[in-house]
Amino acid sequence: MMGAKHRGFLLVFLGPAFVLYGLVVALPAVRALLYSLQKWNGFGDAEFVGLANFVSLFEEGSLFWAALRNNAILALAGGSGILILSLLFASLIHRRVRGAAVFRVSFFFPNVLASVAVALLWTLLYSTTEFGPINALLASVQGALGIEFIQTPVTFLHTSTLTWALVPMLIWTATGFYMVLFLAAMENIPETYYEAAELEGASSWQQFRNITLPLIREVLVVGVIFLAITSLKIFDPIWVMESGQPQRESHVLATLVYQQAFSEFAIGQGAAVAVVLFVLVFGISLAALRMSRREAIEY
C-alpha cells in the first residue's frame, strides 16, 4: 500500500539507523555468540571448541560462580534496601509534606551523577586515612560508648569486603530514582480511598499495606525488574575501586568479561560470560514484558 510509493523516502529515513545499529550492535552481538564457541587469543587462528567455554564456566568453584554470587549479593542486599527506603520515602512524601519538591529533587540527584564520580566519592568516604569520615565516625561512636567492637580504621574497600561495602553506595545512589517512580504511581491513586480508610480508622500502615501497595503493584514489578537488570550489569564502581584489577572475591560478571577478554586475551571465555549475562538480562526482560505487558523505558 503506502510502502511501494514511498520506497525511496523510507530507504533514506531508515537506512542510516539500520546500517549503524546493524553493524555496531546487532552484528557484533551475533559475533559474540560465535566467539563464545571458539578458543581465540585475539591474534592467531581461532579454534572451534563447541560448548567447552561454557562447560568450564559452570565448573564448580569457577570464577564465574564467584562473580555471579557477588551480582546476587548486590541485587538482593542492595535491591531490598533500595526498595524498602524508596517505598518508605515515597509514601511519606505522598501523604503531603512541606518541601516535597526539595526532597524529591535532592534524593534523585545522586542518580544523575557519573557512576565513576559516585565510586570516587565513596572511596573517599570509606578512606582509611585521617580524613575518612566513616572511619572517623565509627571511631568516635566507639569512643563515646567506651567499647571497641571493631578496630578502626576498617578497610571497607578491601577486596574481600568490597561487594558488601558497595551495598550502601548503591542504596545511596538509586533510592531517589525508585522513589520518584513509585511516588508517581502513588499520585494516581484517588484520594477518596485514603479518606474512606481514614474514616474506618485504618492506621497508616494498614493504608499502605491495603491501598498503596496493591495499587502500585505493576510499577513495583517494573522497579524490581530494573533493579535486577542493573545489578547484573554493574561494572564501573568495582572497576574503579579495584584499580582495574578485581580479584576472585570482588568480581562481578561484567568485570569478568572485561578481564578475560582484554587482560587475559581469552576472547572465547570472555564472550561466553557476556553471552550468559545477555541470557540473564534477556530472560528477566521477557519475564517483565509478560508480567506487565508494557513497554518499560530503561535508562
Binding site: A32, S115, L121
Partner: protein, 309 residues
C-alpha cells in the same frame, strides 16, 4: 492527646526525610569543602569549615588558604588535564547527541508513520537492542574497529591520512550513536505515533513532498519528544565509562569519567588529595547545573515512561 500524637508523628516523618536529605547532601558538601583545603589542612581539619571561609587558626601559622584552594584546582584543571577531558566530553557527548537525534528521529518517523511490510519486525529489531548488555557488543567491536580502520587507512592512504577508530573520539561517537538508537527510537516512535495524522495529510494535500512535510510540519511538532530523548541520552553519555575505558587509551583523548577514574586510581598511591577533591567538583558542578535546569522534565520523563509506555 491526639494533637501530641500527631505532633510526634509529623516530627518522625520530617526526621526521616531530613536524615536522608543530609545523607545525600552532606557527603557532597564535604567533598566541595575538601577541594578548598591544602593537603596539610585535610589532615589537620578534615571535617570543619574550610580555613578559606572560617580563617586559619593561629596554630596553623602563616598559610594562605586562597593559594591552596587555587593550587588544587590548577593541579586538576591544568596538570591532570581536566580541561582536555572536559572538552573531549563535550565533543563526544555533543556530536553523539546530534547524530542520535538526527538518525533516530528519521527512523522513528518512518516507523511511526508508514505502514510498510515488515514495519513491526523492524521496530522489534531496533528495540531488542535495549536488552543487549554492552559487554556483549564490546568484545567483537574491539576487533571490528581494527578491520574498519585498516579499510579506512587503505582508502585514505593516497591522501596521507592515517585512519583509526581505536583511541579516537570518532570511534567512540560511532559507538555511542549506535548504542543509543534502540532507546531513542522507542521514545520517539511512541511520541510520533501520538501526533495527529491529519496534520501530515494536510501538508501533503497542500503540496508538500514527504521530505518537506517531515521537515516543516512533523519535526517541529516532535520537539518535546526530542528534548526527552536528548536529556536521557545526555546523562547516559556524559557519564559513560565502559566504552571510553576500552576504546580510549591516550591521555589527550580521555573523557571526564575516564579521567576522573584515572585520578582516583592514582590517588591511592599518592598524597595530594586536594587534586582528587577538586577533580570531583569539576565533574559535579556541570552535572548539578544541568540537573537543576532539567530536573522537572527528567523526573516526568521517567514516570511517563514507566507508567504509560
Amino acid at each position: 492527646m491526639a494533637t501530641v500524637w500527631r505532633w510526634i508523628r509529623s516530627a518522625a516523618v520530617y526526621g526521616i526525610l531530613i536524615s536522608w536529605l543530609a545523607a545525600v547532601i552532606v557527603p557532597l558538601l564535604w567533598v566541595c569543602a575538601n577541594s578548598l583545603r591544602s593537603s596539610r589542612e585535610i589532615v589537620e581539619n578534615p571535617f570543619g569549615i574550610p580555613w578559606l571561609i572560617a580563617g586559619a587558626p593561629e596554630s596553623a601559622g602563616d598559610v594562605d588558604p586562597w593559594e591552596s584552594a587555587r593550587a588544587n584546582y590548577e593541579a586538576a584543571w591544568v596538570e591532570s588535564g581536566f580541561s582536555a577531558y572536559f572538552v573531549n566530553s563535550i565533543l563526544a557527548t555533543g556530536v553523539s547527541l546530534a547524530g542520535i537525534l538526527a538518525v533516530g528521529v528519521m527512523a522513528a518517523y518512518a516507523l511511526a508513520r508508514y505502514d510498510f511490510r515488515g514495519n513491526r519486525l523492524l521496530f522489534l529489531f531496533f528495540i531488542s537492542g535495549m536488552m543487549v548488555p554492552p559487554q556483549l557488543v564490546i568484545v567483537p567491536m574491539f576487533f571490528q574497529f581494527a578491520t574498519w580502520s585498516e579499510w579506512g587507512s587503505y582508502v585514505l592512504a593516497p591522501f596521507c591520512v592515517i585512519f583509526t577508530l581505536h583511541d579516537s573520539l570518532t570511534g567512540l561517537i560511532l559507538l555511542y550513536i549506535a548504542l543509543s538508537l534502540p532507546f531513542t527510537i522507542l521514545v520517539l516512535t511512541g511520541f510520533l505515533r501520538s501526533l495527529p495524522r491529519e496534520l501530515h495529510e494536510a501538508a501533503i494535500i497542500d503540496g508538500c513532498g514527504e521530505y518537506r512535510a517531515f521537515w516543516l510540519v512533523m519535526l517541529p511538532l516532535a520537539k518535546p519528544g526530542l528534548v526527552t530523548a536528548a536529556i536521557f541520552n545526555f546523562i547516559g553519555l556524559w557519564n559513560e565509562y565502559l566504552f571510553a575505558l576500552v576504546f580510549i587509551t591516550s591521555e589527550a583523548k580521555k573523557t571526564l569519567p575516564l579521567g576522573l577514574a584515572g585520578v582516583s586510581i592514582q590517588a591511592q598511591y599518592r598524597t595530594d588529595f586536594g587534586l582528587m577533591f577538586a577533580g570531583f567538583v569539576i565533574v559535579l558542578v556541570p552535572t548539578l547545573l544541568v540537573y537543576l535546569m532539567l530536573q522537572r522534565r527528567l523526573t516526568r520523563g521517567i514516570t511517563v515512561g514507566a507508567l504509560k509506555g
